[in-house]
Amino acid sequence: MTAVTASSSKKQSLMMSRRAGRMQRLGQILGQSFLFSITSLSAFAVLFIFFFITRDAIPFFMPEAGAFNWENLRQFFSETAWYPSARPGQFGALSLFYGSAMVTLGAILVAVPLGISAAVCLSDVLAFNLRQIVKPVIEILAAIPSVAYGFFALVVFAPLLQNAGGTVLAFGFWIVALPILGIACIIAGQTFAARFPENRRTVAALTATAILGVLSLVLLWLIGGKLSGMSISSGTNAFNVSIILGIMALPTVVSVSEDALQAVGRELREGSYALGATRAETIIKTVMPAAISGILAAVILGVMRAVGETMVVWMASGNAAQIPSPFYNFMEPVRTLTATIAGDMGEADHVTGSERYHVLFALALCLLAFSFIMNLVSEAIVRRSRKKLGKE
């Protein structure tokens, strides 16, 4: 490309006077530097964000210049008492970190299995026409504003959980567990049947699958019965938020991992088919390993989406700054970093410069640092995978 333009400018300078040529070159440089400066605005924006968030976060750890407040730092990261309006304020953010981690984990548990299997389906299983129908569904899921998700979680889902929690849980469990167990039964039946001589193999596979199927149905029924007996005291809890965040993170996970799967390319797939692998074997043993880093990047992006989400968690997580007991209890309300910033800033705004104003910036700095690191990691992964695929 440079060669083309260089030759064209040479040709032009042949036709024009020297001065005009110089003017033109000057214009080009000016134009380019103008473009460059506009482009670097976004870079400046990132720098500014880091600078200003840090600038307002520092006074929390360093009330006077040079005097680092270790006590504040220790309290911030290790205590769970979050009473910013108390005098003196208590800023133990551990429960907030825990809340964020908890709902993110929940969201990932929802989004990753669903998202990756949907991506596989989109890239390797579905016909082109069907894909054209499914894609808009994903796009619309991604387009719905977060406050609408939050509204749904608060006004529709939370009362449902509160009034009919057990039934919802049991139903959800059935929906998730039934296909997984079904596939597991079939695979286990096939493996079991492989030990039998050729002529009895089909019968053996069928019986084994049937027995396993009945067993797992009984298991499902037992667990479902137990779940439906549960009652949930508050509909606004970590579980609710996890489900909704999972749905919100789904489009990201699906589209990024689908890109990764597509990038694997025809050659690998055809090679695998040529060696006699079935489609399932090709997907699981060839395509997925080749795309694993891209899928990892998708998961990271999903994590970032879940961590950074504000409105849903603010509206539907219950906003109780506590570590649930026991710590894995998803049915208790939690409070996350983002919700705390959004919720407390309204009051802290009037006292700009106070400790409770700065502590919110400290929370934001943690979020920012986390997303920055995650971003670097995912970029590195994508770069590595590109290199790898390029070599293969």
């Binding site: 333009t5 990132v46 387009a143 719905i144 959004a342």
Partner: protein, 501 residues
């Protein structure tokens, strides 16, 4: 498994959209009562005066029997008290002297037009003064009579007050009520679904039963008519049950003014225009800043930038910007645009737009970049080959060819800017406000759909009363965003058709 997860996604989409659309539409299309039309006429000047007058007359006529029953019932109660008053009169006449004068003076307030409550205060007063006499034994009979009647009537009045309260919630102020400042007390229920809800609350009393300590309280439902067995008021309940339609005159209405009128009394009445306009301003403002910067950056990155260290740093910066959580953008907007360079005195649409622009910048850049890269290389070669300069090539060949793709990206990021809440909380949004003129956007905050959805469903004083407004807002926002996305999808479909030939 894959099919299953796609099914789950589609199901989730339907599950989420269904209540939003169905209940959201009911903010626009619903059975509006005569109260709704009255509100529309008095508050917004919509509708014809004669029509409203005629309807009000009809509705009042239909409601009159209930009001009459209340008056009759109150008369009964008063008659019971009147007996006690008569006794006191007799006593006063018998006693004479100072006691007579003082009692008569007190009794004067219990005239024919006085309310039951006034009667009760008079009797309390009288009893006190009788009890204060040093030889009160002589009055024991009268005091007992007063006490007994008062107790009975007080119980009845309490029930009556409760019932009138429920009726007021349903129909609006009763005849003879003092009108308060609060606008919501001027009108009855404007929607038929709310009418049915309040009819139920009128017909039944709901109480929580905590007698069983093992349960967390049971909701008990008793027909209110039980309270008024054998009184003049008894038929009122059957009347309200059977004739509510005549009393409210519900009519299926397309209430498109919901979109174009502002709200009265904290969204109890009226529409969502200030919010819609605020969202519109914020989105347009954000696009004004983001489009030029984003498209220019994309042109530079695609056409001019050589793969140097600086450029790859630029690219990582852009992807970092894309990963910054939205709430952090909000804090940054507060700390930088408002507290540091003070683009405006307080929160303002301008500050909000700038923050939103920053947030959607990476999306715009990426989409434009993709669109520019998708332009076939032959186009560029042809243009350069014809002797066009680089600038000219970009402006006249590449940009027009990439325009639909760029537009798609822009439309999608518009949807994102319209729906995003966190960045505008601290920079632009207020919960109550009027529609702004374009000039005011430079220095005043605005209500905006996403923020007011949050605000109405968490911080409003009567969350359950205005569910339809909340759903209407969510529906409007989602419809707006989805419309933008459908435009984008259609645009892209056209491009891909064109590219495939």
């Amino acid at each position: 498994m894959g099919f299953f997860s796609i099914l789950v996604m589609a199901a989730a989409l339907i599950l989420i959209l269904y209540p939003i659309i169905s209940r959201g539409l009911s903010a626009y299309i619903f059975r509006a009562t005569s109260e709704h039309r009255r509100v529309q006429f008095t508050e917004f000047g919509i509708g014809s005066a004669q029509e409203i007058e005629r309807e009000t007359a009809e509705v009042t006529a239909a409601r009159q029997p209930v009001f009459d029953m209340i008056v009759a019932h109150e008369k009964d109660l008063k008659a019971e008290l009147q007996e006690a008053v008569d006794q006191v009169h007799a006593l006063a006449a018998a006693e004479g002297g100072f006691l007579q004068r003082s009692l008569e003076r007190r009794l004067k307030r219990a005239h024919a037009d006085a309310s039951v409550e006034e009667y009760l205060t008079v009797l309390t007063d009288v009893r006190k003064s009788l009890e204060g006499q040093f030889d009160r034994e002589r009055f024991t009979d009268v005091i007992t009579l007063i006490t007994e009647r008062k107790q009975r009537v007080e119980v009845e009045t309490k029930k009556l007050t409760e019932m009138k309260h429920a009726l007021r919630d349903l129909l609006g102020p009763l005849p003879g009520d003092r009108i308060t400042e609060l606008l919501r007390s001027h009108y009855g229920q404007t929607r038929w679904d709310r009418c049915l809800h309040y009819q139920d609350k009128f017909l039944y009393r709901y109480e929580w039963d905590y007698s069983n300590p093992e349960l967390s309280g049971l909701k008990m439902r008793t027909p209110r008519v039980e309270d008024f067995r054998g009184t003049d008021l008894e038929p009122a309940f059957a009347y309200v049950r059977d004739n509510l339609e005549a009393m409210m005159q519900p009519r299926l209405t397309l209430y498109w003014q919901f979109l174009t009128t502002d709200s009265r009394d904290a969204h109890f009445f009226g529409g969502i225009w200030p919010e819609v306009l605020g969202t519109f301003y914020l989105t347009i403002g954000a696009m004004l800043f983001a489009i030029p910067i984003g498209v220019i950056a994309a042109i530079y990155l695609c056409e001019y930038a050589r793969p140097t260290k600086t450029v790859s740093l630029l690219r990582s910066c852009i992807s970092t910007l894309a990963g910054v959580p939205s709430i952090v953008f909000g804090l940054f907007g507060l700390a930088f645009f408002l507290n540091t360079i003070s683009v405006s005195e307080s929160k303002s649409v301008l500050a909000g737009s700038l923050t939103l622009a920053l947030m959607i910048l990476p999306t715009v850049i990426r989409a434009s970049e993709e669109a520019i890269l998708a332009v076939p290389f032959t186009y560029k070669e042809a243009a350069l080959g014809l002797g066009a300069g680089r600038w000219r090539t970009v402006l006249t060949v590449i940009l027009p060819a990439a325009l639909p793709g760029i537009l798609t990206g822009i439309v999608i990021s518009m949807g994102r800017a319209a729906g995003e809440t966190a960045p505008i909380i601290f920079t632009a949004a207020v919960s109550v406000g009027l529609a702004l003129s374009p000039l005011q956007t430079l220095n005043s905050p605005t209500p905006a759909l996403p923020w007011n959805i949050y605000n109405l469903c968490t911080e409003h004083e009567a969350v359950d009363e205005i569910r339809h407004v909340q759903f209407g807002m969510v529906f409007t926002l989602v419809a707006l965003v989805l419309m933008l996305n459908i435009i984008a999808i259609a645009l892209r479909a056209r491009i891909s058709r064109k590219l495939r030939g």
